[in-house]
């Protein structure tokens, strides 16, 4: 605990000093969710059938286009190198940086998810289930996305590159996250099954990704 808490406190302090970085993810999410129905047309039936996927994709994009702030500032002012060298357990330090990102970007997004669901005309019963799935799979999403941001640390405009690199790994999540809400006769994919699959993906990511992250960060920072 005394490895994790100080770093989270420091990160939250830095994030709160520059509030636009918190607000921009929420505003982006709301703008994307409100522009999708305009492009598709106002037909409520059509919107109802595709809104789970749209909600997931809007969520993905607002994470992927913001994930570069996890390591960017610390990399630029050199404190990332210090964390990697000085800390006894760099894995814990990196995990606490990711936890603070979760608190500052993903938690507000989750709070605004019901509003996004209402904009996209999602049935009220499904909103709860989708939010649960998104919360459960968010550790996987953030860890994999921060892999992308660690890989693209030295690139001048990293967001697009991160999106291209990470989208292939999000496709399984998107498939299992939307299957319970799509009517298909071939597979009766229940909600609990996809909940279990996404939970296992998150646990897998929590166990293995921090080591790879440390490796990539060390390669990039020397």
């Amino acid at each position: 605990m005394n490895h994790i808490v100080p770093i989270i406190k420091r990160d939250l302090h830095i994030y709160f000093r520059n509030k636009s970085s918190i607000l921009i993810a929420i505003i982006f999410f709301l703008v994307v969710t409100s522009i999708l129905p305009i492009g598709i047309g106002p037909d409520i039936k059509v919107l109802e059938s595709i809104s789970p996927g749209l909600l997931w994709i809007a969520f993905f994009l607002s994470i992927l286009l913001n994930i570069s702030i996890v390591f960017e500032n610390d990399f630029k002012d050199g404190s990332l190198d210090l964390i990697l060298i000085e800390s006894e357990l760099p894995e814990l330090a990196i995990i606490s940086k990711i936890i603070s990102f979760w608190l500052i970007v993903v938690l507000p997004l989750v709070i605004f998810l019901p509003l996004g669901g209402i904009i996209l005309n999602l049935p009220l019963g499904n909103i709860k289930q989708i939010i649960l799935l998104i919360i459960i799979s968010s550790p996987f999403m953030i860890l994999i996305a921060s892999m992308g941001s660690a890989m693209a640390l030295r690139v001048s405009n990293p967001s697009l590159l991160i999106t291209i690199l990470i989208i292939p790994f999000y496709i399984p999540i998107l498939i299992f996250g939307t299957l319970p809400f799509i009517e298909n006769d071939i597979m009766n994919f229940s909600f609990s099954r996809s909940l279990m699959l996404l939970t296992s993906a998150s646990i897998f990511a929590i166990v293995f990704v921090p080591y790879l992250l440390i490796y990539v960060l060390k390669v990039n920072s020397d």
Partner: protein, 234 residues
């Protein structure tokens, strides 16, 4: 591990590359002769079955090349062999080309057989994911300017992407898909008739030799570029 010495590798390439090209051409010529003049048409698909002889070998190769890239990169990360990274870097665009061949030939087969150009079933989707992973990998390799920083990052990325290969292989068994299940690489032996299996394997051998030919050429280019860079730095 002596093969990984750059100069020795260059000598080997110069010695064998022509023979490999000739072997590949011979296998392909004989294979396509077999396909078009000896092997029968399918009783349901008719002449369209001939697309299979391009589609299936390039599918095997695209997955095999990805596995090769991941193994070479593992060697690079664990044993610190720089030449292994060069092999991986040279194979990535070739794997991309074979993946494109699979998808495009599948599209032209699917239109008359299934009635649609493209369906979102498990096999096709996972193959598309492989295409995206190849694209990401090549993007990372393109970022480097003589630094080996990005080849390490690309190595990590390729090992992460390896999880997709078993998904492609078993996607037809795990899910009910429109794509037909495996008929050659099965535990209980192939279910495809020998009059179609033999030409398929011959064409596959030809594809392998052609891949090796282009792989050796691009490894040679990479090695020579490295030498040039070193001599400029000195």
């Amino acid at each position: 591990m002596k093969v990984f010495n750059p100069n020795r590798l260059l000598n080997l390439i110069n010695k064998f590359v022509l023979y490999i090209f000739i072997l590949g051409c011979l296998f392909l010529a004989f294979g396509f002769y077999y396909v078009f003049f000896i092997s029968p048409n399918d009783y349901q698909q008719g002449i369209m079955v001939k697309i299979m002889y391009i589609h299936v070998p390039s599918a095997w190769l695209s997955m095999g090349i990805y596995t090769l890239i991941a193994i070479a990169n593992l060697l690079f990360l664990i044993r610190k062999i720089p030449t292994a990274s060069i092999i991986a870097k040279a194979s990535a665009p070739l794997g991309l080309i074979f993946t494109l061949i699979v998808l495009i030939s599948g599209i032209f087969w699917g239109r008359p057989m299934w009635g649609v150009w493209w369906v979102w079933d498990a096999r096709l989707t996972s193959m598309l994911v492989l295409l995206f992973i190849y694209l990401g990998l090549i993007l990372i390799y393109r970022m480097e300017n003589g630094e080996n920083k990005y080849s390490k990052i690309a190595a990590v990325y390729s090992i992460l992407g390896l999880i997709n290969i078993p998904i492609i292989k078993f996607s037809v068994d795990w899910w009910n898909t429109l794509h037909q299940p495996a008929s050659v690489l099965r535990l209980d032996g192939p279910t495809i008739h020998t009059s179609m299996l033999y030409p398929l394997l011959i064409v596959f051998l030809g594809f392998i030799f052609l891949f090796l030919y282009y792989l050796l050429l691009s490894i040679k280019i990479e090695l020579l570029e490295n030498k040039f860079r070193q001599s400029k730095a000195n």
